[in-house]
Symmetry: D2
Subunit: 337 residues, 4 copies
């Protein structure tokens, strides 16, 4: 039995807890801490989930010897400090993405981990998704051959609220960072240079905060691969998560998941379902699989599937893209590091 | 909280228990009884599932006042006697399909239930499947119009072991009975006459027991609808569960579920996934939904989604088809009743 | 250069002529005869098509030594008499389907051809269609393995006019005969027994003439294959021509052709095109290919792709189905011959 | 009857002639001229095609008063001089794409045409293709709404010979120019700025001539639309011609045409056809439709579907992309004009 401590019981923290209870074998959340949630609400929720201990702050939790690993599900600006303390306390860590806005802070965690056997996994869940795993497998199995180009499309079903936009870090660091992670995952490569075009086509609210709601991006990798990423904060036809990898032997594509296979033909044509829901529905399978993978990594002392170094690489590319979009020029990754 | 008693802890009984623990809210299995399973194995399994009581026989369980409903997951030839006793004991019943081989026995249960408010649901799970529900909705929404024809295809990925064939009741009553249930579900109609061609194309073992492994069937319904059903005990390309409903306004089709959306294009063409797994994987969503539906029916005193009368209708048609196949002639349902 | 004589310049005759002019190399229609069409209209049309001779009757045409082969595109009840005369005159023959309503008459043509090297091809064009050819190739290439079942669906976009129904010979001999031909083509087998359910679900006009507008049919072949055919005289979602062949190694399916590959996704789902047009549009590729094939057979003295013996087999099965539908019982093919 | 003169009887010229003979009503090629093709070969071919006059040079042809319009199918570097002379001679012009490598030369033709009623159509045939027309119609019908992004993919089945590469003008002006034309066609907009990444991933031969074989491109349009184009000179899975237009109401996509609809399911998955052939097969429908459209424009004095101004716009963007790829920076279209 692996004992976990949950730090932060907001939306994602609660989802992590429910996942673990239902789907992760021989693992339990022993304690939770959340300074923000109402005490009574937290108590009631913890009881329902079968979590027996509520700590006033995460420091107390780190002192609990029974706890093997912590889940950091707090706001972004607290990730590094908690992570550093947790490493000092000898806890394995699962940390929501991104690790930190600042490259320097992420580097600090990497330095801190050096020489230790602690596991640190970042919550880029798409590497654990059934479709992306099948795509990776197709590449490994040689169906694509040497990769020439990668295309990633990610479109949200509807834009976030204004309050979210303000503190999101911008489209490239908040949303496209997932596609950047997938690009790293699929190609096993390093980004050399990026170029971004962004625009406010949906809502001027994005522009107010210096952000964009639509972006098309091209990326040149050190191994010669060329990639394009398209992001949109809205999609009338539903959450759009498609990818294509093209190489000298073939092309592998993943399409959207749909709730059922019905197709209705009438005099107007043949209609099939649009992808319903948003990331929580679409990637529930991935949330479950990545948590099982983290638990396995800890128990069997295996490498994690998304390391803090992966998180660092993603952040660097996201920052380069933000600069490129703002300054209207290609940006080399070397410029950012 | 609804308290259930599980009668029979074989393969399907264990699946029912796991479903209820993971996915059915405010419901628990309080007790289990199984005269066949090894006592120690049963005890260990019950502990893992959090089932606190093991009764020596189902009679004891029926005497337990705390138990609201029982799940009958025993061999087919015991269904009716247990059901009658359970009704006498005032328990709601969820019974695996088919209710009984004999029409007379099923009728006995119906008679016994008369005037009582007890729920009796039969485990034809496909009515609860996401694809068939979408198909039913398309019909109700008027996309198909007045139904002219229905086509049902059901092909197993591999044939059952010889031991199973012997006691299965034959392809029509063991396998096609699910398609018959769907036909009733989709059309809200009554069968008038049936005609069946069957053959042993896969394995002569079926013929040894007077059974067939492949069958194509046509059905004339009282409301004018014409239907075809095709069953095969084997399918190289995987578990095949497709249906088409055709009417004066349009056609609605459901295809197979697949594990992921990958499509790989090479010089040999474009390859997508075949449907993996068998009924347990394919219909897990339906097992969960039908159990929740049963619990809801009990708690809210609502009609069940598959009644014992539905089970009777299915059995009658299955018997008519068996006669038709054996005697090489169309058989009217009136002949069987 | 092969010289053809066209007997009958109705709708299908005109299509044959246009096909030959545009798409058949080193072949020309030298003469036409049509006792029914208005003389001036015929003359004008022949000029447009570059046909230089108009004969008053087909006997004159048969006397023209320059003519190598004739196309019999006249009403059904004249096929046999013209065919017999043409054989006597030593002409190769392309004859529209079906050869004749009567089995005896078709047999007469077969007898007449005995010992002669004349080619006689019947216009079951679907054997020349790109989709059905791909299906046949998949079978020959072994992808399906030993065939277990065949499913044929054929639904017209709209019913024929009342005048057509009256003299059509009924759904089985007019429409389903094409599916019967495909069944023979795909399986290389002989039909043993058939069973048909028919109904008037579209228009009572069909019933007036003792005909049906919807039929589902099951067929048992001598080699063990089981087949189903579904026909409807109407289809809101367009001309529906799909087939599935299932065997021990796999399943091969052909879907409908559509005019373009557009797919439009909106909040209502994803819409693709329905199959537009009717047989003339759908099978134009087949009309062209079968005529080239006939010309090749004549020039190179090769077997035709659809022989008069094939036509006979189809007719026998069509008659058996008509009897089965009328009398409500399975009918053995031996009963008809 | 419209009389045409064909200038240049190379591969494309011959295809134009065959198209016109088979598929363009009330139009004929009266004369041909080709200084390069062997006289005897030309004569034989002209006879086969029913072209009665062979002129020694195009000047003679332009003097023939019976000729209404000329088709310029000669090498690129002769287009402008012939066009200017043909305009002087009062002939309508159909000119293969691109009009000229030099913007100045194209502008000269535009100036020359000013005040005249002569038609000048450029052979960007994809505007006449069934799929792209359906896509344009979907946009016009409002299914996409306000366009946000456009994605164009064009991948050739195999690379051109070395001799072709040398004089092609480079990937952007030879191949991607078609996608640029489609972008203009689909959006009715003007390009503001472009950015290109190119690479030699297939064959170093391209690099020898300062060319690339793979390119991903992003384009910012004056109306706010963002576009990506991907081109590859090779594609193992066949000629790849797909496009997606995404807007605030929905998304419209066109996929590849395939030769037939077969799908074969075995234990390895479900296989469908790859797109066979290259541009001549894929766009034959477009060659036919664009020529009919040109003839209609001349006869009915209607605007042509692709004007010389369209050709100019495409050329400007192609040049901007070439600069961007070479210099590694975004290039504004204003910089090129």
């Amino acid at each position: 039995m692996l004992n976990l401590g949950l730090i932060g019981a907001g939306r994602i923290g609660k989802i992590r807890a429910a996942c673990i209870r239902q789907y992760v074998r021989d693992t339990k959340i022993l304690a939770v801490t959340d300074p923000v949630t109402d005490k009574n609400d937290l108590k009631r929720w913890a009881e329902d989930e079968g979590i027996s201990i509520i700590y006033d702050d995460y420091q107390q939790m780190l002192n609990d010897k029974r706890i093997d690993a912590v889940l950091i599900c707090t706001p972004l600006n607290t990730h590094t400090i908690i992570a550093i303390d947790a490493i000092d306390a000898g806890k394995h860590i699962f940390c929501e993405k991104p690790v930190d806005k600042s490259i320097g802070e992420i580097q600090m965690i990497i330095d801190k981990l050096k020489g230790k056997t602690l596991k640190f996994q970042v919550g880029f869940m798409q590497r654990s998704d059934h479709n992306f795993r099948a795509l990776k497998k197709a590449i490994i199995d040689g169906h694509v051959g040497k990769i020439h180009t990668v295309k990633l499309i990610s479109r949200d079903p509807f834009p976030p609220p204004k309050s979210y936009i303000e503190s999101s870090g911008g489209l490239f660091l908040d949303m496209m960072i997932h596609d950047i992670d997938l690009l790293h995952f699929l190609t096993d490569g390093e980004v050399a240079e990026v170029h971004a075009y962004g625009a406010c086509l949906i809502d001027p609210a994005f522009a107010e905060f210096g952000d964009v709601d639509t972006a098309i991006v091209t990326i040149k990798m050190k191994n010669g691969v060329l990639a394009t990423i398209e992001n949109s904060r809205i999609s009338a036809s539903g959450y759009d998560q498609r990818t294509e990898v093209f190489g000298d032997k073939g092309v592998a594509t993943i399409g959207n998941d749909i709730d059922n296979t019905i197709c209705i033909g009438t005099e107007k044509g043949f209609v099939s379902e649009r992808p319903e829901g948003f990331f929580l529905e679409r990637y529930m399978n991935a949330y479950i699989r990545e948590m099982n993978s983290f638990v396995d990594s800890v128990k069997k002392d295996q490498p994690v599937i998304v390391s803090v170094e992966d998180g660092l690489k993603n952040q660097i590319v996201g920052i380069a893209l933000t600069i490129s979009c703002n300054e209207g020029r290609p940006v080399s990754v070397d410029e950012v590091v």
